[in-house]
Every structure is written in structure tokens, then in C-alpha cells.
């Protein structure tokens, strides 16, 4: 412990060197820009700017490139909240309640809460990274396919909490999402599934095109400008900040989101994608007012935003302590380190303490910089809402197209976005909520792959899921959740869903 603090102090000495401060700031600045602009995610942002770092030393390079990564998590929610366009998978959940808040004139509050939530989660993540990285990383390695399967089964159960519509409607949407998620090459056997001979569909349908279509474009299709009655929302400066009640409502979600996100973030693989979804479902489950979700619930912004930021910091744990990439972004960072002659591996801490601790310290500083950078920007971004709707929605459509195209430079993705926009329009007519569809799409490929991988490992024996402690623990949680729901049903106690339906019926009559 003492030696950790000593090393960290040394790290701060490195991080506070003027050069390093400057590169951290530069990284955070570019990261914010990358996050705000739709389409360019941290992945392409980092790889495009990689050649720029050739002239720098390894510490400067990794400080700057990592700044782009966690910086982009701050800005990522901006288009979600203002325009209902999720720039990347991690900000899909923010667009539901964040945009609903914006339409109530609370865009500033939503952006502030997202920024503060990101800051708290990011800083929490770095503290955990400082204190417990090596032992945690070893546990993370035990998270193999059976554990993944169990986690995703838990995700499927959480799916039921995602939507306020009836259970059948929620499950139907989830099924459609799962089916969409099965498009593409089957990783296990090489069969092309439902891809109509398009190589672009080989890796399946992306989350961004589907979410942008369903949420962003779908909303525009069903909102002709003559229906937008209200005056242009032009909030005064004082109204930009969240009020006391909103702060109060966001404290616990931020705390829960930070812990949940960090735990999921350290798992190697693509689990970090589901962190914000799980956080949203969790908040809705524990909330006293689940009926507010989807209509501008503060917790629906605070939780997922914190979770995705904590997850992005958590991803550094296996990268720095074991040298294994938990996802494409950490893979790029490891590559960048290698190019600079610093091989990332289990001995990084001992062989390059300057770099390791300087980097960790720079993340404390970087998160502060990002908070200072993002809060003033809120007032700038909110001015976008001053544009009259008739002029605003062409801009949104443009962002939808560019944002989706830039993710993988594929025009097929843009067509998918359009189809999903029309589908979203149709679903709205029949009172379906697209959120479970998106979660289904996220879960399907991961669940199928990990299930089949587990069975390969056990040679077809399902006992593997019960013989490994982490998997068993997760499955027990699933069973308890299901039992609780069944119990509530058996006791004929009305759950919140029924109450909600009743309240709405009452409203309709009154």
C-alpha cells in the first residue's frame, strides 16, 4: 500500500511535467471532439492519430492516445442527448432518457449529469486501477466462455426490465434483436447466415446503425415539423445546471454505475458493451418510480453514463497488468506501445515504472481536465437546440448518415440505418419500444458464441456451467431473480408494470 502511494507520487511527478500535461490535454481535447462527432469513435480516432505520435516518447504517446479513449467517453453522450443519435454502442441507453430530458428543457442538466457521472466513474476506475489492478486482472482471466454465458443469461433476464410495455411486447422486440444479431458468418462453423451474399453482412449488423435508425431517424420520421408546437427551448444559464432534486436523484445511480461498469470493464472480451445496458436495467429495477424511465428519468442518464466510463477505465486493468487486450481499443494502445519499443506485458510495471505510474497519474489529471473542458461546453452544445426544428432535423439526418458511414466506411450500414428508421417508425405506430431490440442485438452474438465455446470446451457437457464458481454464482443470481418474479406473480401482487398500465388507463379516462 505504502509503496503504491509512493509509486503514484512518482507517477504524478511524471504526469505533471509540462510536456506530459500538454499531451494529456491534447488527448482529452481530441477525445472530446471524437466523442462529440458522430461516427468517429475512439477506435478510429486513436488509429488515425497514431502516426502523429511517432515523434513522441512512449509515455507521451500513451498518455495522449489514452486521453483520446477516455475523453471520447465524455463527449459520446452529447449527440445522444441533443439529437437522439448514439455515436457509439456505449451511449445507446443515454439517448432514451437523455433526449427525453432535453425535450423537457433539461438538456443542460442531462449533459452536466453525464459529465459529472463520467468524472466520478472515471476517477473511481483509476483509483481501483491504482489499488487492486494485479490481483483483479488474475481473476479477470478466469472469466472464460462459461462465465460469459452465465453473464449474458443474466443480461437476458434484465432485458425484461428494459421496457415499460407489456412483457409479450418486450420479449417480441428482444427476439427480433436476437435474430438480427445472428446475421453474418457463424464464427463456429463458417456458415453465412441470412446475409444474402453481401460480404458487408459477414460480421453481422452493427449496433450503431440499428440504434441510430431506430432512435434517431425513426423519431424524425414520426415528427413532422407542424406537430412541433412548443417554442424553441432556449434555457437561461441558471437552468443549464441540474437542480437540487436532479443531483439527489443521480447520486446513487452514479455510484452503482461506477461499480458495475468497472467490474464488467475488467472482463476480457466485448462485455464492456453491455455495461450501460445492464446499468439502465438495474436502475429501472431498483427505482421507486420505474414509470419515469423513458420519459426523462435522471437515473437513466446518470447510471449508464457512469457505467460506460467506469468500464472504459476498467479495460486498462488487464491491459496494463497482463498485457492482454480486452477489446479493440486496448489492442490499438498495446500496438502503439510496441511501436514505441515498450512491449506491454506482465512485466510492464516492473520494467517501465515511469511509464506505468505516469500513465495512471495522468488519468487522474485527465479526468479533471475533461470535467473542466466539458462543463463549459454544455452551454455551447445546448445552443444547438435553439435551431428551429424544421432546420434542425435535416442536420440530424445528415449526422445519422455520416455517423453511421464513418464507423466502418460501409454504405450497407447506412442502408441498414434507413431500414431501421422505417422499422422504428412502424414500431412506434404499434406501441413497441425498440430498446429491448437493441439489447437483444448486443447479446445475441456474444451469447451464442460463448455458449458454443463452452460446449466445445466441455465436449458437449452442460455441467461445465455449474462446475465453475463464477458461472455458478451468476446463474444463482439469475435463478433468484426469476424466483422473485415468479413469487410476485404467484402472490398476485401487482408488479409495477400492471400498476403503470392501470395508471395510464385512468389517465385516458380522465
Amino acid at each position: 500500500m505504502e509503496s503504491t502511494l509512493l509509486s503514484l507520487a512518482h507517477g504524478f511527478a511524471v504526469a505533471f511535467q509540462p510536456d506530459n500535461l500538454w499531451y494529456a490535454f491534447l488527448g482529452c481535447l481530441v477525445g472530446t471532439l471524437v466523442g462529440v462527432l458522430p461516427g468517429i469513435g475512439p477506435l478510429s480516432g486513436i488509429s488515425i492519430l497514431l502516426p502523429v505520435t511517432f515523434g513522441l516518447n512512449a509515455t507521451q504517446a500513451v498518455i495522449m492516445l489514452a486521453g483520446i479513449y477516455y475523453g471520447s467517453q465524455y463527449g459520446g453522450s452529447t449527440t445522444s442527448i441533443l439529437m437522439r443519435i448514439p455515436g457509439e454502442a456505449s451511449s445507446v441507453m443515454t439517448c432514451i432518457d437523455g433526449n427525453a430530458m432535453a425535450r423537457k428543457g433539461r438538456a443542460g442538466a442531462a449533459l452536466c449529469i453525464a459529465a459529472v457521472g463520467s468524472f466520478v466513474a472515471g476517477t473511481f476506475g483509476v483509483i481501483m486501477l491504482t489499488l487492486v489492478a494485479p490481483p483483479l486482472a488474475t481473476i479477470a482471466l478466469r472469466f472464460g466462455p462459461p462465465e460469459y454465458t452465465a453473464l449474458l443469461v443474466l443480461g437476458l433476464i434484465f432485458l425484461a426490465y428494459m421496457s415499460s410495455t407489456s412483457l409479450v411486447r418486450t420479449l417480441l422486440m428482444a427476439c427480433i434483436g436476437l435474430l438480427l444479431g445472428m446475421i453474418g458468418i457463424d464464427n463456429m462453423t463458417g456458415h453465412f447466415r441470412y446475409s444474402f451474399d453481401l460480404a458487408e453482412l459477414g460480421d453481422g449488423i452493427g449496433i450503431v446503425p440499428v440504434a441510430v435508425g431506430l432512435f434517431g431517424l425513426g423519431e424524425i420520421l414520426s415528427t413532422p415539423s407542424h406537430k412541433v408546437r412548443g417554442e424553441v427551448i432556449s434555457p437561461k444559464f441558471r437552468e443549464l445546471l441540474p437542480n437540487r432534486q436532479e443531483w439527489g436523484e443521480s447520486v446513487m445511480p452514479i455510484a452503482r454505475g461506477s461499480v458495475l461498469g468497472f467490474i464488467i470493464g475488467i472482463i476480457p472480451g466485448s462485455a464492456h458493451i453491455i455495461s450501460s445496458f445492464l446499468s439502465y436495467a438495474l436502475e429501472k429495477r431498483v427505482s421507486k418510480h420505474p414509470e419515469e424511465f423513458g420519459k426523462g428519468a435522471v437515473a437513466g442518464v446518470a447510471g449508464p453514463e457512469s457505467a460506460n466510463n467506469a468500464a472504459s477505465t476498467g479495460a486498462f486493468v488487464p491491459m496494463l497488468s497482463l498485457g492482454i487486450p480486452t477489446g479493440p481499443i486496448t489492442a490499438v494502445l498495446i500496438g502503439a506501445l510496441m511501436i514505441h519499443g515498450v512491449p506491454a506485458g506482465p512485466q510492464l510495471v516492473t520494467e517501465h515504472p515511469d511509464l506505468f505510474w505516469g500513465f495512471v497519474a495522468s488519468m487522474y489529471v485527465g479526468n479533471l481536465m475533461l470535467l473542466a473542458l466539458n462543463l463549459p461546453l454544455v452551454s455551447v452544445f445546448v445552443t444547438v437546440l435553439r435551431i428551429p426544428y424544421a432546420y434542425l432535423y435535416p442536420l440530424i439526418i445528415m449526422f445519422c448518415i455520416v455517423g453511421v458511414y464513418e464507423v466502418s466506411h460501409s454504405i450497407v450500414d447506412v442502408y441498414i440505418m434507413l431500414i431501421m428508421g422505417v422499422l422504428g417508425y412502424g414500431l412506434r405506430k404499434f406501441n413497441f419500444d425498440p430498446a429491448p431490440l437493441v439489447l437483444g442485438l448486443v447479446i445475441a452474438p456474444l451469447l451464442e458464441q460463448s455458449l458454443r465455446q463452452s460446449l466445445i470446451m466441455s465436449n458437449g457437457n452442460y455441467f461445465i456451467f455449474f462446475s465453475r464458481p463464477i458461472a455458478l454464482g451468476l446463474l444463482i443470481v439469475c435463478a433468484v431473480l426469476l424466483a422473485l418474479s415468479a413469487l410476485a406473480f404467484a402472490l398476485k401482487r401487482k408488479d409495477w408494470r400492471a400498476k403503470l398500465a392501470e395508471a395510464e388507463a385512468g389517465e385516458a379516462q380522465g
Partner: protein, 326 residues
């Protein structure tokens, strides 16, 4: 830059710009060259293509843009490049994968989207020999231990790969054939990183991975290299024997090459290939290669063509050995 600003200023009347293509008459290259990278950032392709593009810019005196077109194990990028106008302004950065698609498609009775004949090899940027590695919880000290156990327990040892018919799957098929052991059990994952993670977490016991991807784990004692698929011993791992010296006919590298679409004019090919030779000799590029822990394995167009022919034969055979799954 002046022309660009001018053009932007007159966008509204852009339809009048029928004269645009006239620039194409200038000496090659008269505008930006695009290298399509068929694999996403985080892989070997992206990491060597960006520095080579940066090194090409001062030589060609034009911008060299790397455009990622990833998907379907590199097939998306290959298809885009194959259908691009063959004028030398569109190149492709690809790897071993480009050899095997047609063979895999044949296996499944599909019409191949691209074949090797669609591309002209320009340069091999890197070639990283594959190692046969096991994790530290396995008892095997030598390759012989491993082979003996594999013969005793057919289909019991699990190996992880970055994907079916991919560059970390095919070497296992080559190895199985060369040593005559019964088939091992295959755990496909979705990339080189996940495959190594599976090995480190003992969800798989063996994997065939490149030197640069495993070197740090080998040094830390988490992984053990039993043999190398290289033609000679690796300088960074001099104690690891090659399969050839152990008497098995098996060779495999993960390589990255630059290709031009079929039909590119010979003059453009000559310019590009000379520029690539020069860019590969630059310090920027050499530093990147040594940073990755690799030996300099650049091949010019002529040598690369010969290498590719031999390598593609190995790859086709391996695909046939694996056959259709499930």
C-alpha cells in the same frame, strides 16, 4: 490546398465541374493514393499499414490515406479493392487471409467473391513466424511431450484460434498433418487477442500465435513455446526449435502485404513498387518493425509474388484438411 479551398467555395455550382477528370492526365500520382486496410485497428495490418503510408507520402509527394474497410475476415476490404478502378490510386493492405477465401467458398459451394487472380502483389511488409505455444499449467516441456500426449488422448487437447480458417487456425491443420497426430479440439474465438486470452485463462491449452503477440507472455513464463513454424530460429527466442529441424515439414507466417487490383497499368505499378521499397527502408518503418519484436522481412514485388504462390498452396491444402465444419 489552394485548389481545395477554391473548390469548396464553389460547391453550389459544382455541377459545372465536368472538367475535373482532366487532372488524371498528369504523371502518376497526381492526387491522393488510398490504401484500403481490410482489418480493423488493433491488428497487425493496421499497425504496419499506417506507418508505411506515412513513409510513402514524402516519396510519392502525395497524401496517402488509409481507409479501413474491415469485415468478414478481410473479405469486405478485398472485395472493395477488387472492384475499385485499377488506376493505381487504390491499393489494398491484406494478409494471409487473401489466399484462402476462394478455397473456403468452394468448400461451402459458394461463388468466390474474389480470387488471387484479382490482385497483383506489390510488397510483403512483414512476415511473423507462428509459434506453437502452451500455457504454464500444461506439463509439456518439449514438442515430443505434446505430440505423445496428443496421440494418447485424441480430441482432448483444446486449442484456441482467432477464427475459423484464419491465420492462427491453418497452422494447426498443417501441424496435424505433418506430425500425423489425431485431430485436436478447436476453440474458435473472434480475434488474435481473445485467442491468447483463452490460452492464458486455461480455457484452451494450446494455440499457434505469432512471435510478436506472445513474446511478452513467454518472457513472463505464462506461456511456453514448443516449436516455431519459421524457416529459421527466431533471434528473440533462440532456444525454440523450428519444426523443420525437428523433422516436420511445416512452415507458416503471419504476413502483411500490399496489393493492387488486377488491371493496374504497369507504369503505375513500377512507381508504386519502387516507392514501397524506399518506404520500407525508412527509419520510421524499420523502427516499427523492430518495436513489434519482429525481424525485417520486407519482400519486393518479384520476391513477394514467388512467396505468395508457395504460401497460397500451403494455405489451400490446410483449408482442405480442415474441411467443412458442423
Amino acid at each position: 490546398m489552394d485548389r481545395r479551398t477554391f473548390v469548396i467555395g464553389t460547391t453550389a455550382t459544382a455541377t459545372a465541374f465536368a472538367a475535373g477528370p482532366a487532372f488524371a492526365q498528369d504523371a502518376f500520382p497526381s492526387r491522393a493514393v488510398t490504401i484500403i486496410c481490410a482489418f480493423p485497428p488493433g491488428g497487425a495490418n493496421d499497425i504496419v499499414t499506417r506507418p508505411i503510408a506515412a513513409a510513402l507520402e514524402p516519396i510519392l509527394k502525395q497524401p496517402v490515406v488509409v481507409e479501413t474497410k474491415a469485415g468478414a475476415g478481410g473479405q469486405v476490404g478485398a472485395q472493395v479493392a477488387a472492384s475499385a478502378k485499377p488506376d493505381g490510386y487504390t491499393l489494398l493492405s491484406h494478409n494471409n487471409g487473401i489466399s484462402g477465401y476462394a478455397e473456403v467458398d468452394k468448400l461451402f459451394g459458394r461463388q468466390p467473391k474474389t480470387t488471387r487472380a484479382d490482385f497483383i502483389p506489390l510488397a510483403r511488409l512483414i512476415a511473423d513466424p507462428v509459434l506453437l505455444v502452451v500455457n504454464d499449467q500444461q506439463p509439456y516441456k518439449t514438442l515430443k511431450d505434446f505430440i505423445d500426449d496428443a496421440k494418447k488422448r485424441p480430441e482432448a487437447i483444446v486449442y484456441s484460434s482467432g477464427g475459423l480458417y484464419g491465420a492462427t487456425h491453418l497452422p494447426v491443420a498443417i501441424f496435424e498433418k505433418a506430425t500425423g497426430i489425431p485431430k485436436l479440439r478447436h476453440l474458435p474465438t473472434n480475434g488474435g487477442g481473445p485467442a491468447i486470452t483463452a490460452l492464458l485463462g486455461n480455457n484452451a491449452q494450446m494455440s499457434t500465435q505469432t512471435v510478436s503477440a506472445t513474446l511478452q507472455h513467454i518472457k513472463a513464463g505464462k506461456l511456453r513455446a514448443l516449436a516455431s513454424f519459421g524457416g529459421a530460429r527466431s533471434k528473440v527466442l533462440p532456444d525454440v526449435p523450428t519444426l523443420k529441424e525437428l523433422g516436420y515439414d511445416a512452415e507458416y507466417y503471419l504476413w502483411v502485404g500490399i496489393f493492387a487490383p488486377k488491371g493496374t497499368p504497369a507504369s503505375a505499378l513500377a512507381t508504386l513498387s519502387a516507392a514501397l521499397d524506399k518506404a520500407a527502408a525508412s527509419d520510421v518503418f524499420k523502427n516499427v518493425v523492430s518495436g513489434l519484436g519482429q525481424e525485417f522481412a520486407y519482400l519486393n514485388a518479384k520476391d513477394f509474388e514467388a512467396f505468395w504462390t508457395a504460401d497460397a498452396k500451403r494455405s489451400d491444402e490446410a483449408v482442405q484438411l480442415i474441411g467443412k465444419q458442423g
